[in-house]
Structure formats: C-alpha cells, structure tokens
C-alpha cells in the first residue's frame, strides 16, 4: 500500500468514525474514546510483536509513562496560564516523549535479549509501576495526578456533548498513531523489522543493523502506547497507578493476539473487544437471575475468563487471529469465484464448503497458508 493511499484511508476512516459518534449516545461515545485510547497501545504492540518479534508484557507501563507525562505537563501549563488547544498539544507531545524515552531504554536492553528474557524484564517493569509512583514525590503515589477539566471548545459547545468531543479527540490521536504505524510498517523500516524477526543473521549479512532496528521498533511502539496513555488521561482527567496494572498489560497482549499479530485492523478489533466484552458480559450477568454476590464475583472475572480462553484457543489453533480469519475468508471467497462452472462434481463439492456458515477458516486449526487451499474443491480418492 503506498503512502498516499494509507493517508487517504486514514482520513476516510477518521471522518467515518467521527460521523459515527453522532449516532451514539454519550456512554457509547465514552466507550469509543476508551477503545481509541487502547487502539493506540494495541496498534503499537502489534507492530512490535508481529513485525519485530519482540514480546512486551510492559505496555501498560509505557501507557502510564505517557499518562504521567501528559498529566504533569498539563498541570505545569495550567499553572503557567496556558490552556485550550496549545496545552493539549504540548501535553500530548510530552506524553509521547516520556513514553519514547522509557521505550528507548527498554529497547536498548531488549536488543540484547531474546524472547522470554525481554518478556520478564517488561513484566517486572509493570509490577514496579506502583512502587515508582509511590517513591517519586511528583507522581503522588496511589492517589495519582489529576488534571484540570478540559471541556468542549466554545464554538462546538452548542452542537455536541462532552463525551462526543472526547471521542473526537481520542479518534484523532488514534488515527495519527495508527497512520504513523502503517507508514512505518509499509516502508523500508517495516521491511527491515520483518527481516530481523525472521533471521537476524541473514539480516545482518544484508547490511541491516539488527540492534538498531529492534530499538527503533520499541521506540515507535512506545510512543504510540504513550499517546494511548495521554488519551486515557485526557478522557478520565486523572492518571494513577491503579489504571495501569499487570492485568491491563496482559489484556493488551490478548487483544493483539486475538486480533492477529502484526495486523492493525486486528489491533482495532482487539481494542474494541477490550472495551465491549466486559460490558457485554456485565449486561448478560445482570440479566440472569443470580444472587447479587455471585453477580459481583462474576463481574470482574468472567470477562477475563473469556479473554484468557480465547487467547489459548487462538494461539493453539489459529495463530492468525481474527484478522487472519478475515483474510482467509476473503481468499477463500476469491478462490471460489475462480472455480470452473459447477459441473456435477463441483456442484456437489462446493456447497459442502459453504454449508458451515463459519467456514473452515473461522475454525481453529485451519487459518494460515492452508486456508487458501481449503477453498479449492477437495477431491477424495474415491471419485474416480
């Protein structure tokens, strides 16, 4: 995909999403803003894991770095008398820089480490977030940092509600982050990342510096995670260690894997799932006639159970994730269109592939390179 097409696509998507906010009620718009914030982080993570092959369990910590960077800058600017759009832009840039610097440090360590070592280091980083927040005075421990209320700007006040405005801002930031990642993915850097992921030695022989590429991937991914933290802070008007736990880190990974590693569309699906699934499960358990104690227990844990099971099933059976399944379904449709006119054999065979509404690709175990083949008519030895 060339750069102009990516930009047009991003612009179109943003306009479409902003149009969508007019159809949603305030709570849905709030959820949309949250999903956009998570999208910044999941998109960064999917590029890091999928393209450069580095696993981070610490993206919640990078989001936290962005969130604190945003909140502290916003506070400082507020006391200096700056407000409105300049304050938001400066604070967002500060968030990106804070997360980027932390990501640079992690990336420098990560370039020397592989697989499980890096995962463990980043996991320890997330575990240490509350301790760091408690020991650095400016971060104010568990209480966190609150920022000044950022309302709808003047001319729009009559038109839209606060939640809708927040959704717009969140969507715009997410669009910038995702577009940036898409450009990186499709450009030379993305090619180098894939080369390093697949074979470090071969990449080095081809004149690529593997360490530099890995660090760069970490920084890019961290900056977008930091933007996610900034948006989350903007929407909730505060930042505290309680919002960036190990669970969030693991859930970001779940979202990325469920969506399909390396796929930005998958990252978007995953982010929406992160927001919608807990709400859906909550609504379902509220509808069932269960004692309140049981409902309370199920509330926080049942969505996690679903996420965890989904993760296991997908990794074990369908490494391509949802995006992989979508691609496979498309390939299958195309393959079916290419089939010759249905003769007696084909007529009998094609419907058997279509009988199953989910199709073979949606089932675990058949996604990947084999999925294209599964669309072709399968000839059993008995049909002489």
């Amino acid at each position: 995909m060339n750069a102009r097409r990516t930009l047009l696509l991003a612009l179109g998507g943003l306009v479409l999403a902003i149009g969508l906010t007019f159809l949603l009620d305030p709570y849905r718009n709030y959820q949309l803003a949250l999903a956009a914030a998570y999208l910044c982080a999941t998109a960064g993570l999917t590029v890091l894991v999928g393209l450069s092959g580095q696993l981070s369990l610490g993206h919640a910590a990078l989001m936290a770095a962005g969130g604190y960077g945003y909140a502290l800058t916003s506070q400082a600017l507020t006391s200096a008398g700056v407000g409105g759009v300049p304050r938001f832009l400066a604070a967002t840039v500060a968030a990106a820089v804070a997360a980027g610097v932390l990501g640079l440090l992690l990336g420098l360590a990560g370039a020397r480490l592989h697989g499980p070592y890096l995962a463990g280091l980043t996991l320890t980083l997330v575990v240490a977030v509350p301790a760091v927040a408690a020991s650095v005075g400016a971060l104010q421990g568990d209480r966190g940092v609150r920022i000044e209320f950022e309302g709808v700007p003047g001319p729009l006040k009559a038109l839209i509600a606060l939640e809708q405005w927040q959704a717009w801002v969140a969507l715009a930031v997410a669009a910038v982050a995702v577009t940036g990642l898409a450009l990186v993915r499709d450009g030379r850097t993305g090619l180098r990342m894939r080369a390093v992921r697949d074979d470090e030695v071969a990449a080095a022989l081809a004149g690529i510096a593997p360490a530099r590429v890995k660090v760069l991937a970490f920084v890019v991914s961290s900056v977008t995670a930091g933007l996610g933290g900034a948006v989350l802070t903007f929407v909730t008007q505060s930042v505290s260690p309680g919002a960036y736990t190990v669970s969030l880190s693991l859930l970001l990974l779940v979202a990325v894997v469920v969506g399909g590693l390396g796929s930005l569309l998958g990252a978007a699906l995953g982010a929406v799932l992160l927001v919608l699934l807990p709400w859906l499960v909550g609504t379902l358990t509220d509808m069932l006639p269960l004692p309140s104690q049981v409902t309370q227990r199920l509330d926080g844990t049942l969505p996690l159970l679903v996420f965890g099971s989904l993760l296991i099933v997908l990794v074990a059976g369908a490494p391509g994730g949802l995006a992989g399944a979508l691609t496979a379904a498309r390939d299958r449709r195309r393959a079916r269109r290419r089939l010759p006119a249905p003769g007696p054999t084909a007529a009998r065979l094609v419907p058997t592939a279509g009988d199953d509404p989910t199709g073979p690709a949606a089932r675990p175990g058949s996604v990947g390179p084999t999925a294209t083949r599964s669309g072709e008519p399968v000839r059993t030895p008995t049909e002489g």
């Binding site: 894991v49 092959g53 696993l55 369990l57 360590a109 020397r112 480490l113 592989h114 697989g115 499980p116 070592y117 995962a119 463990g120 280091l121 996991l123 320890t124 980083l125 575990v127 240490a128 509350p130 301790a131 760091v132 408690a134 020991s135 470090e200 030695v201 080095a204 190990v246 693991l250 990974l253 779940v254 894997v257 227990r297 199920l298 926080g300 844990t301 049942l302 996690l304 159970l305 996420f307 965890g308 099971s309 993760l311 296991i312 990794v315 074990a316 059976g317 490494p319």
Partner: protein, 292 residues
C-alpha cells in the same frame, strides 16, 4: 547490628523460597525451552487445594502433602492439555499460551473463591528466636529453609543419581538422540512439568503465611521475584538459581528493612536490568554457542 542480622536471616529464609520457585522455572526451561509464565497461577491452585485439605482434616501436614500432589496434577494437566500446543517454531507462542493460562486460572479462582485475602496461619511460631540476645530467625523460617533446601537436595539426587534423572536430562539436552536411544521424550517432558509444578506449589504454600494471605494473585510477586532469580542465575543452572535466590532474598530483605517495602520491586527491577545488561544470559549460564 541486631537489625542487620535479623534482616539477613529473614532474607536468607525468603531467598531459599525464591530459589525453590526459581528451580521450578529452571526445570521447565531446561526441559522445554519455555519460561513458564503461568507458574505463579498454577502454584496458587495447589495452595487453594492444600488450604482446603488443612481445613477439612485439621492437619497442616495433610494440607502440605495435598498441595504438592495438587501442584503435580496441575502441571500434568497444563502440559498435556495446553502447552503441548505451543509451536516449536515461534518462541513467543509458549509465553503467550502461559499468559492465557494465568488469566484463565486466576479468573476461575476468583469466580470460585472471590478476591479477598484469606489469612493462612503459619504452623509454627512466627516470633524470632534469639541467639545470644540477637533475634535471628523464627521457627517457621527454619522450617521453610529446611523443607526448601531438603527438596532441592532431593531433586538434585533424582537428577544426578537415578535412571529417571538421566533420562530427564537426556531428553532435555538432546531430544533427538535421546529418542533414538529409547527415551520417551514426551513423557519425560511431562514428568519435568509435574516435578516443577509440584515444587512451585510447595514454595507458594510455604510463602503464603508470610504474605498478606491467600487470594488468586498471591503468588504473582513470588513469580516475578523467582523469575528475576532464575534470570540472574542463568535460567539453565539449578546451582545458579540457589545462589541467586539467596542473593535476591537478602537484597530484598535489606531494601525492605532499611528503605521501605514499596521500594522492593524497584530494587528487583534495577537488579534485573543491571544483570541483563552486563550478562544477557545470566551470571551462571553455560557459554552460549556462537550464532553469527
């Protein structure tokens, strides 16, 4: 000085627990080249069973036995049921599967028992014994050290002196050759997982009375510290795990005692970063073959 000796004593006691838990990670790493990120959640399942058995029988010892057995069963089920699907081509798939397991196990425990901290009393007194007027270790600490060191010694004997141990080592180091020589490699892997999960469950059971109490996340920190220990020790080396465990235990105890408990995770992070930057594959790992 009194304080220092006391902190050193408790640090060593905690360190043996870290070492035991880290040994569980090392066993699995050696057998399957997977860092078992689910070790904490798996161990805590065993502890829930053990505490339930203690509650039913009124005996701490039956509870301890039940913990070890339940831990082994969890290891068996996890290896046969889930980790077997880890792709050998991608080193990340094992980690991701383990993380899925963590989420599933912890949410199941949360649904079954709730998130509150259940206090688990220690079977012995927690008050420190005095040696020459200086408080050093509590009877419970002594018990922990004895059990943990005893188990580690037993595992070493198993690996070095028995045929099963030889097969386990052969299957881990050269699976292809071992298979040709008649070692059931897949079965050895399962045995490795069972042993490791049982050891981790025991470590968690011993650690729980010293923590806030039992809840689905009670072993999370233990896992993080044990991972640090295993990495510092070099993931491949049981002896390294013991040494690194004692070191990390003492460092944590001193940091907690002199600088405050909140700083302990930061200290562990700092230690991990320094060790990984200086020696990316740990202090005691065997030299890696040249790759490029």
């Amino acid at each position: 000085m009194d304080r220092f000796v006391f902190l050193l004593g408790t640090g060593l006691a905690r360190g043996t627990l870290f070492a035991l838990f880290a040994l569980a990670l090392v066993l699995i790493w050696r057998a399957t080249r997977i860092v078992n990120f689910a070790a904490g959640a798996m161990a805590i399942v065993g502890v829930y069973v053990g505490v339930a058995v203690t509650g039913l029988t009124g005996s701490y010892w039956w509870g301890l036995v039940a913990t070890v057995l339940a831990g082994g069963v969890v290891g068996l089920v996890v290896e046969r049921g889930v980790l077997r699907f880890a792709s050998a081509r991608s080193p990340l798939s094992g980690v991701i599967l383990a993380i899925g397991l963590v989420i599933v196990l912890q949410s199941l425990l949360g649904i079954a028992f709730g998130q509150q901290h259940e206090p688990v009393p220690a079977p012995f007194s927690d008050r420190p014994l005095r040696v020459g007027g200086v408080p050093v270790l509590s009877p419970y600490d002594v018990f922990v050290v004895v059990v943990a060191l005893g188990l580690m010694a037993a595992l070493r004997l198993l690996f070095v002196r028995t045929t099963l141990g030889l097969q386990l080592r052969a299957a881990a180091f050269a699976p292809e050759v071992a298979r040709l020589l008649g070692v059931r490699v897949a079965r050895m892997r399962t045995v490795g997982w069972v042993l490791a999960a049982a050891a981790a469950s025991l470590a968690a059971m011993l650690a729980v009375p010293k923590e806030l109490g039992l809840n689905p996340h009670a072993a999370d920190m233990l896992f993080v510290y044990a991972f640090t220990v295993a990495v510092v020790g070099g993931l491949d080396s049981p002896g390294g795990a013991l040494l690194a465990g004692l070191t990390v235990g003492v460092v944590m105890s001193l940091v907690t005692g002199y600088l405050g408990a909140t700083l302990a995770p930061v200290a562990v992070l700092a230690l991990l970063v320094v060790v990984l930057l200086v020696r990316p594959s740990g202090l005691f790992a065997q030299a890696e073959t040249r790759r490029a």
